[in-house]
């Protein structure tokens, strides 16, 4: 077993550990946003490490480039998807009892007052009224 394979299997084991830690956080954290925090960061790091390890193990041009493409895709889309879920979770009012400091609500209400002072009927701003 040469040095390259040792590096590759170390990367794969490290990525598996990241995935397991992310799943433990997903099971044990108390509310929605901390679960997003655990899930998106841990699983993204674990996926990148596992893909790098498998690319070193395979070590052919076609398969390694394909794995690099998968890694770039995960690295771009996973934070976007989690951000979209968190935005939907805030605006659908399904997670208010777990918030103690709510800075985004001040932003939304300031935008709402601004649009009322302008006197324009903005349908998008009207749906952003999140006062419970």
């Amino acid at each position: 077993m040469d040095v390259l394979q040792i590096i590759a299997y170390t990367l794969i084991m490290l990525g598996t550990g990241f995935c397991v830690i992310a799943v433990v956080g997903m099971l044990r954290f108390p509310d929605v946003y901390t679960r997003y925090h655990a899930g998106t960061k841990g699983v993204t790091a674990g996926n990148l490490l596992i893909l790098a390890g498998v690319a070193i193990v395979e070590w052919s041009l076609l398969i390694s480039l394909k794995l690099l493409l998968i890694a770039i895709f995960f690295f771009m889309t996973n934070p976007v998807a989690t951000h979209a879920i968190a935005r939907a979770a805030y605006r659908s009012r399904s997670s208010f009892p777990c918030l103690f400091i709510d800075a985004y609500r001040e932003y939304v209400q300031r935008r709402l007052r601004y649009s009322e002072a302008e006197g324009e009927e903005d349908e998008a701003a009207a749906t952003e009224d999140v006062s419970p």
């Binding site: 995935c19 799943v23 929605v32 498998v54 998968i70 979209a84």
Partner: protein, 85 residues
């Protein structure tokens, strides 16, 4: 070694599926579906490397794209309660 990592990932995937069933709210379940799908993609990569079956890498690419579209559509439906907007 590769098969051991695949077994650990599969157990983590089953443990994350518990959150899909028993999540208190709907966004919990959506995040758990996202994490479960990513772990299944990693399981497919590890098994493809272990068994030497290289078309699985293409399947993983298409699976990741479909998972992203799936999560975005679910988030849009949860936010606006309708899809055409």
């Amino acid at each position: 070694m590769m098969l051991f990592a695949a077994a650990v990932i599969a157990l983590a995937c089953l443990a994350c599926f518990y959150r899909v069933i028993a999540g208190p709210t709907v966004p919990d379940r959506m995040a758990a579906v996202d994490v479960t799908g990513l772990l299944i993609a990693m399981l497919m990569v590890l098994l493809a490397s272990h068994f030497g079956f290289s078309p699985f890498y293409d399947i993983v690419l298409v699976y990741a794209a479909l998972l992203f579209v799936d999560i975005m559509i679910m988030a849009k439906y949860l936010e606006y309660k309708e899809l055409y907007r």
